[in-house]
């Protein structure tokens, strides 16, 4: 158990050091240490199996340790509001990635308009608060359902088509969404919606700086904890759905539609359910994003972000719940360290996806056999 916690702590310390290291020498040292640790695991099978067995045996302890470290992260990053923001963004992508993974990974419903559904959530929050005068928390609860409704209404006719057709239609939907947001009057056109009121819960405004154990944290830490709660709940719920009759039925639909139908699985109901639950999570992520930055505009939800969401799923592990968490935690903060590459760092996403598909097509953390625990 101590070994499990110790290894978690080492990874945490290295990651935080990697984030906070400013000087090239320090950065190289922590980067080197991380690579060395990964290589040690890669090329020392006994160590790997021992660690895996340890984590499997002390699953509750490992999860608790991870939770403590996740709660402590804003403390470690308190000097940098920017990195607190990036960490929050990664957590939003965990929520979004879990939803997208249910669609793409579990059900084989290829949705390439993740950003558009997140945008539906974000714009709904903006409109409900600014135009309808709703409080932010109520808009936040309502917005994901708008994404679900739009998705269900538009896509019911084509959910029955297989593979590429649906993927193409979702791409088209993503672009249509963007063009509409750019040109509609009530969504603010290219300027988007500004000054979305921040979240207020029990008199606590999310723009005020929280203090944890006497240490003052940046205001973004509020959203960090909110996003952590949401990401945790989503992951927990979708893990259970995946390891249930639903996950099994969706996997069977994905692998062999005819066999699934002959076993009593309704194609329309199954795919619609996966699509809707997925959009609920994606819309929720987008809504939280809108409340956090207080501003939504068309470029925040363009096709590029759909691809980032897709790569979270592919790199983490298709159909793998822990894989999505890993993918989001790697894919959001890591490119930020490569800011000096400017726009070229987007090429990095492409290169990483190609390499992954070639050498690890099932992702960094492949899906395990369902055990229904």
């Amino acid at each position: 158990m101590i070994a499990v916690w110790l290894s978690e702590l080492v990874v945490f310390a290295l990651v935080v050091a990697g984030i906070l290291a400013e000087r090239p020498a320090a950065l190289a040292a922590t980067g080197g240490a991380l690579v060395a640790a990964a290589a040690l695991l890669r090329f020392a099978p006994p160590l790997r199996t021992a660690l895996a067995a340890g984590f499997a045996r002390h699953r509750a302890a490992a999860l608790a340790g991870g939770a403590v470290l996740a709660l402590a992260l804003p403390l470690a990053l308190r000097a940098s509001p920017y990195w607190t923001f990036v960490a929050t963004l990664a957590l939003l992508y965990v929520t979004i990635g879990q939803g997208l993974n249910l669609q793409i990974g579990t059900a084989g419903v290829i949705n390439l308009a993740g950003a558009a559904f997140a945008g539906l959530g974000g714009y709904s929050v903006g409109l409900l608060t600014l135009s309808a005068g709703w409080p932010a928390w109520l808009a936040l609860l309502m917005a994901p359902w708008i994404a679900v409704t739009v998705g269900a209404v538009l896509f019911v006719p084509i959910l029955k088509t297989r593979g590429h057709y649906l993927a193409l239609v979702t791409i088209a939907f993503g672009f249509i969404f963007n063009i509409l947001m750019n040109n509609l009057e009530f969504t603010g056109g290219p300027q988007g919606l500004k000054n979305i009121p921040t979240l207020r819960l029990f008199g606590w405004a999310f723009t005020s700086k929280p203090a944890l154990a006497g240490v003052e944290l940046p205001a973004h830490a509020n959203f960090y904890y909110a996003a952590l709660l949401v990401a945790g709940l989503t992951t927990w719920a979708l893990r259970r759905l995946h390891d249930s009759w639903l996950g099994l039925a969706l996997n069977t639909l994905r692998d062999d539609e005819i066999a699934a139908r002959c076993c009593g699985v309704s194609l329309t109901r199954g795919k619609l359910l996966a699509f809707s639950i997925g959009n609920l999570c994606i819309g929720l992520g987008g809504a939280l994003y809108a409340v956090m930055v207080g501003f939504v505009s068309p470029p925040d939800f363009d096709f590029g972000y759909s691809l980032v969401m897709l790569s979270v799923v592919i790199i983490g592990g298709v159909d793998s719940i822990p894989g999505v968490v890993l993918g989001a935690c790697l894919l959001l903060p890591l490119p930020e360290r490569f800011r000096f590459l400017h726009e070229y760092r987007l090429l990095l996403y492409g290169a990483v996806i190609v390499v992954m598909l070639l050498y690890r097509p099932r992702g960094l953390w492949p899906a395990a056999v369902r055990r229904y625990r």
Binding site: W245, T252, D255, R261, C262, C263, S266
Partner: protein, 265 residues
């Protein structure tokens, strides 16, 4: 067909068309409770089309299907499956990446009683039901092989051909059907495997005496060994019906398989 109780399945003038092609042409077939009906016929004679029409994968152009006293013509495949028709496929349709248990559990999909809320928040209910379902899956596997239940959590792609066929039969049985459709279970098997398959089918017969079975087979030893009554198809029509010996001796059946005198000359 002997004078028997009401048939579990009856087709009346069942017809399936693909454009101008008549794949199934006015077929009347009836199966009684607990009966095993063999279906023979040359390639392309409409045997698999018959199964696909029965299971709702094809929509009949004319005629009707009555199952368990209910008209099921035109129902969707999943609805027909829920009424109690289960099937296997000529080319295996297992999900190779999923575990052996998963491939059987999907057969119990329609019998589940726990929903989404039970899967997430009232997990104990789901666990209780799933525990029983896993036991049932292991029990079904144990009918055929002593070692298969122990391999339940392995991907089904790691099993040899004969065991995959068994898993597919288990999946069909897991649904608790009243009618089982077996589409050429011996396809691609060598004689030893076919003999094992015969034994497996006899186990199914013994374990579930009330189950009605329709079996498509090219292997005449299998047909002779397991089925009480046989129908023969050719060009989408039923050309003969009766005991195996009678059908095998039937003039039109012999012509369908061997060609006519003139063609041979």
């Amino acid at each position: 067909m002997s004078a028997m109780t009401a048939p579990i399945l009856e087709t009346r003038r069942l017809t399936v068309r693909f454009g101008g092609l008549v794949a199934l042409d006015g077929v009347d077939v009836a199966v009684g409770p607990g009966e095993t009906l063999g279906v023979i016929g040359p390639n392309g004679s409409g045997k698999t089309t018959f199964f696909n029409a029965l299971t709702g994968l094809y929509t009949p152009a004319a005629g009707e299907i009555v199952f368990g006293g209910r008209r099921v013509t035109g129902l969707e495949a999943h609805a027909i499956a829920r009424l109690g028709i289960a099937r296997t496929f000529q080319a295996s349709r297992l999900c190779l990446a999923l575990s052996v248990f998963d491939n059987i559990l999907i057969g119990m999909h329609a019998r589940r009683t726990t929903g989404l809320a039970d899967s997430v928040v009232r997990r104990w209910r789901f666990r209780r039901e799933m525990g029983a379902a896993l036991e049932r899956a292991a029990h079904l596997l144990a009918l055929f092989s002593r070692e298969l239940p122990g391999r339940g959590f392995e991907p089904v792609g790691q099993l040899p051909q004969i065991d995959r066929r068994r898993v597919e039969i288990c999946r069909a049985l897991a649904a608790g059907p009243t009618l089982l459709l077996l589409d050429e279970p011996s396809a691609g098997m060598n004689p030893e495997e076919t003999a094992e398959l015969m034994r497996d089918l006899q186990i199914v017969r013994a374990e579930m005496p009330g189950l009605s079975v329709i079996i498509i087979e090219h292997d005449m030893f299998v047909i002779e060994g397991v089925s009480g009554r046989v129908v023969a198809f050719n060009y989408g029509r039923k050309i003969a019906e009766g005991s195996f010996a009678a059908v095998a001796a039937h003039e039109e059946v012999r012509q369908a398989y061997l060609g006519t005198e003139r063609a041979r000359a």
